[in-house]
């Protein structure tokens, strides 16, 4: 029990901080694009890197935040039925949904590792005028889904606890 609880806290905490770090990337995107606009319009000197850099950051930006959103229920759902369920039953429904998400993660990880390895082995670049490496973006796919898998397992444990718990305030407890 203690180990499980510690695992949940650690994973949730890790994903929280990754999301906070990722949230700052948007300022880099804004800065790069604004620089591009100024350089091109006022100095007639467009950069080869600004748009591509912003595009390359987009993936890490939202992929790394995906697991955190699973914890904060930020991935939207249809709550018409779910919100009317008694707390314990809702807990058991969640205890089915989260493992299903975990299975999906395992499948995507399994599928994405070869793609990531191919990119890594060839040190794949974008082949543009700037020609930055793009393999890190492909490598990020299994990494992000691994983080999501870890979070889904943590949420499963939380859901089971809500399912087992009795009393009026069951289901409101969150791990954070």
């Amino acid at each position: 029990m203690f180990i499980l609880h510690g695992y949940c806290r650690a994973v949730t905490c890790l994903n929280h901080w990754l999301a906070v770090a990722a949230s700052l990337l948007v300022f880099v995107m804004v800065g790069a694009i604004a620089y591009e606009v100024v350089a091109r319009y006022f100095f007639d000197a467009p950069t080869v890197w600004a748009l591509e850099l912003s595009t390359l950051l987009l993936g890490p930006y939202f992929m790394l935040a995906g697991p955190h959103l699973l914890h904060t229920a930020g991935h939207v759902n249809v709550d018409i039925l779910h919100s009317k369920l008694p707390a314990r039953l809702a807990g058991w429904v969640d205890a089915v949904i989260y493992p299903l998400i975990a299975v999906i993660c395992v499948i995507v990880i399994d599928q994405s590792i070869p793609v990531a390895m191919n990119a890594l082995e060839s040190r794949e670049t974008s082949f543009s005028a700037w020609n930055p490496p793009v393999w890190p973006v492909k490598v990020l796919i299994p990494v992000a889904f691994l983080l999501l898998l870890l979070q889904a397992l943590a949420e499963t444990w939380g859901a089971i606890q809500r399912g087992l718990k009795s009393g009026p305030d069951a289901g409101t407890e969150a791990l954070s």
């Binding site: 606009v37 759902n77 249809v78 995507v108 793009v134």
Partner: protein, 440 residues
């Protein structure tokens, strides 16, 4: 397995899984994975990775975090609430004035971006709290934003329009021109509806306490228009004078919002951090849904989900108007659960030869298509807009409310569709003017 069976199975299981309360993004991926393994072969699972990668590196979707950040900064800096206070003072004789003003802001937003997710999320962040705080009916407020947020599909610039033009092989410029009048008509319909509803039931849209507002006070409130207007001008101005592409203009808008916040003295690290987290949350929600939708569409196509529908249309030998009606129905039906770009890639190549054979104008048909796309974005249960807006809802408002909120606006869209079906000139007049100007 027959394509009709695949279609019904997918539709039914999508409904079922959604009702379980599983997040939409994972509902779509789960179904796609199951259908891949059962109907295609596990080798095709790699498509899920490739679609994910495509969304991760999409230069088009880059506009989403930028517009959402612009909205978050403006909201957190109090600028938007000041704007609504001014609207409240000036529009207090107009029933539903704030909602009408919101449609107007949506129309301006539509002229900045064609990415529905960006517009709806931004408007949800900007307009919803301000309207709710003033006692507006939550359904009226939600419906206004969802419907208004989809105006960007018709009003240029618009990515969906560009994809349609490329697939149907018609001029992007003419398609853009063709969307302007219908877009304005739709905005007008929304506004009229709001005014009429508010007149019939003033509780839906409470007005500011009247009389005691002096002219001086009203004039003073105009000050709050300055900053938002400057931002609108910097974004639209940079697009229409060629300083920036629509995506880049979003970054210009963020800078404008930051400067405005600084002038208000609200550009604090705490506000910025909070705005950044808001932006991350909304963008992440939209992007993961996009990933799910793209994977789902490719599996749906690869397993022949729509084959029977499309071949049915291909072999239909009846009156041209019936064929048109059948095509529109298919678009609306597929729009229930597929994303718009997917529908374009799937249907337009099948429909175009039929359109040409019957002598319909592909530009006019394109506008009808874009209106059905707007409908698809807000039709329950899978209207993507409804999910985007739910992502920015305050506590206590559920999906059921959103679903009910949207119905009257869906009705308005349907009447617009019928209107343009009956009076094609409303659509074709402007692009015809354009081509005449170009050839003389």
């Amino acid at each position: 397995m027959s394509s009709g069976l695949v279609l019904s199975l997918m539709f039914a299981s999508l409904l079922l899984l959604l009702l379980s309360g599983m997040p939409l993004a994972f509902v779509l991926i789960t179904l796609a994975v199951v259908f891949t393994v059962v109907l295609w072969g596990s080798d095709a699972l790699v498509l899920s990775v490739l679609q994910t990668y495509d969304v991760m590196t999409s230069d088009v979707l880059l506009a989403i975090p930028l517009y959402v950040l612009m909205a978050s900064v403006l909201q957190r800096s109090g600028i938007i609430d000041a704007l609504y206070r001014a609207m409240e003072l000036w529009f207090r004789r107009l029933p539903g004035g704030l909602a009408v003003g919101t449609v107007a802001i949506c129309t301006v937003m539509a002229a900045m971006t064609g990415i529905v997710g960006a517009a709806v999320a931004a408007m949800g962040i900007l307009a919803l709290p301000s309207m709710l705080r003033r006692g507006y009916d939550e359904k009226l407020a939600l419906g206004t934003i969802c419907a208004g947020g989809t105006l960007g599909i018709l009003i240029p610039p618009s990515i969906i329009t560009i994809v349609y033009a490329a697939t149907a092989q018609v001029s992007v410029g003419k398609m853009f021109a063709a969307g302007i009048v219908p877009g304005m008509v739709l905005a007008g319909l929304y506004m009229s509806y709001i005014v009429i509803r508010a007149m019939l039931n003033p509780d839906l849209a409470p007005r500011a306490a009247s009389d005691e507002v002096s002219l001086m006070e009203r004039l003073a409130s105009l000050k709050s228009l300055i900053l938002p207007t400057l931002i609108v001008f910097s974004v639209l101005g940079s697009i229409y004078t060629g300083i920036a592409t629509p995506t880049e203009a979003a970054a210009v808008g963020v800078l404008g919002a930051l400067v405005s916040a600084a002038l208000q003295g609200t550009c604090t690290p705490a506000n910025l951090g909070a705005a950044a987290m808001d932006t991350l949350r909304v963008t992440t929600m939209i992007m993961w849904i996009t990933i799910g939708a793209k994977i789902f569409v490719s599996i749906f196509t690869g397993t022949g989900g729509a084959d029977s529908l499309l071949s049915f249309i291909d072999n239909l030998e009846v009156n041209r108007w019936l064929v048109l009606l059948a095509m529109m129905s298919i678009l609306v039906f597929l729009g229930l659960f597929l994303d718009e770009i997917g529908i374009i890639l799937l249907c337009v190549p099948v429909f175009m030869p039929i359109i040409h054979a019957f002598g319909f104008d592909p530009i006019w048909f394109g506008v009808l298509f874009l209106i059905t796309a707007q409908m698809a974005y807000i039709t329950p249960p899978f209207g993507y807009t409804l999910f985007y807006i739910k992502g920015v809802l305050p506590e206590g408002i559920g999906m059921g409310t959103v679903y009910r909120a949207i119905l009257p606006f869906l009705g308005l869209q349907i009447s617009a569709l019928v209107l343009f079906l009956l009076f094609p000139d409303l659509v074709t007049w402007l692009p015809d003017q354009l081509s005449q100007r170009l050839t003389h």
